[in-house]
Symmetry: C2
């Protein structure tokens, strides 16, 4: 019986490329593994897999009775619904330590770096397994995505060195151009229903008993949202009601201006504002320099809910 | 401000030697660190530190506002009482994933091996930091203790290779003899009050909302308990009442016969028996082949409480 290697719900490129790269590594060291996914590919991830010739991991939502290796999170809300009936054999992650627990010992490769694929590259090095050109390509793209081409405050020296090493393997001379190409794909939002956009990169967090959903859309020019912002606002209000959430936040991130417009729907608007020491207008506020949900948005919120 | 490197409450040799070894490693790589402890040294640990010339880590129970690196567990019940007011920067552990969570990214070096010190040796290798003869001595002793000189089912190839490498560094030819010497120290129970014995290696677990305390005494001949078993039984009954626990279990482990006598005081005796498919007599039962609390005692219990 193989171990299923799976990222979080509403998978991003790190979750998908990480599952593929880690399943391959594990197969090379004799641990039969299959990469799976909990949701649809984003346009960005589809672009990456197509570019380097990989199929999407198998879509699989139920893991009861199976062995699972978790990628890119350690949160119950982001894991398969029946994770409590599965055996978690490992976790590779770069976020805060969440509320997943196990009843047996496991391995955790968790590091405060910008991307799970940076850690997976360390695992390839640890096990001394060769990385193919194509695999290096998808791992590199995942890191450029998570670190916003090194602009995010989550980016570490380890991520940069890792991208440089992977670019060498993949034979990619201008990886920053590849990163911009990827973010252009990500910025094509016209014609997409509001719900699809909001859910493209959306994570639920359990904040001291309160369910808080936080979405993020990273684009190269916020002007793409001008026509649809009202729809986005209506949609996060609907999402809040549907999911019985305390709050739903949507970050519209401008990777060139290096900041985010935050849209807020909350039972306690003042609490959210206090987390970021800001005052919103019409439930919106520009947060200069804020690029990272993980490092700049979740921790202050966690603190005000503590 | 240094990072405090600290093991679990009622520290065993792995927690103490691990804190010393990891704090030293972190200082070598430029991360100012201080080893601390949450409780008294066991006779075994005192023997190890004395033998290799180390002082006990500083006794420190409060960590509010400090940065902490956790060694040998990931459980709230085993961590400092005010851990929620501290920042956990890392965890090195070899147990099941517990209920500690963080609000910021951290590093976790968690592996399903027999001892935290085996993982700390991997960390020395990763950072390419030299291990002194004396440090190798205490790390090796911690691994021999946790793996019951390789007899425990928790012992892995990695632990054995690690002990062999450390023995080479420490210049110890017969490490098994050293292990037996250590277990002889551990077996000297006469004259020690029952409570001190029960608490010598005692851990509380949150089993689906029920507090279950599990102690273990490892000796080279169970006959040492003949005169004091009634006192031990009375004491775990008192402990159960004092701590409002659902159950208290005490494992009297015979490392030569390779099994444990389990003493049970519980609100639901039948539930405990069902976990180990056994029938107790006078709240006692011999569990043949059971040496490991972590691998053979906690998981089946976790399952019946799930």
């Amino acid at each position: 019986m193989p171990v299923y290697v799976v990222g979080h719900k509403i998978p991003d490129s790190d979750s998908i490329c990480g599952a593929i790269a880690l399943a391959h590594l594990r197969n090379q060291i004799g641990e039969a593994s299959v990469a799976t996914r909990l949701g649809e590919l984003s346009p960005e991830t589809a672009f990456i897999l197509e570019k380097f010739g990989f199929d999407a991991p198998e879509f699989k939502t139920s893991y009861a009775g199976e062995e699972v290796y978790i990628v890119d999170h350690s949160e119950l809300t982001q894991a398969p619904d029946d994770i409590a009936q599965a055996t978690i054999v490992g976790i590779v992650d770069h976020h805060k330590l969440g509320d997943l627990t196990t009843s047996t010992p496991l391995e955790c490769w968790i590091r405060p770096v910008g991307c799970s694929n940076t850690i997976i590259k360390m695992m390839y090095d640890f096990y001394n397994v060769e990385i193919s050109k194509e695999m290096a390509g998808i791992m590199l793209c995942a890191i450029l995505s998570d670190t916003v081409i090194f602009k995010s405050p989550t980016c570490t020296t380890a991520d940069i060195k890792c991208v440089e090493a992977l670019a060498e393997i993949a034979g990619i001379e201008d990886f920053k151009a590849l990163g911009m190409e990827m973010f252009k794909v990500k910025s094509a939002v016209e014609g997409t229903p509001a719900r699809d956009l909001v859910m493209r990169d959306f994570k639920d967090f359990n904040m001291n008993g309160n369910l808080v959903g936080i979405g993020q859309l990273e684009v190269i020019d916020l002007a793409v949202f001008d026509e649809i912002k009202a729809e986005l606002e209506a949609d996060i209000a609907a999402l809040k009601a549907e999911g019985n959430r305390h709050s739903v936040l949507l970050l519209l991130t401008d990777i060139m201006k290096e900041g985010s417009e935050l849209l807020i729907i909350s039972d306690e608007l003042a609490k959210i504002e206090s987390a970021y020491s800001c005052k919103s207008e019409d439930n919106k506020v520009w947060l200069d320099g804020v690029l990272s949900r993980k490092k700049q948005v979740v921790p202050p919120l966690q603190d005000v809910f503590a």
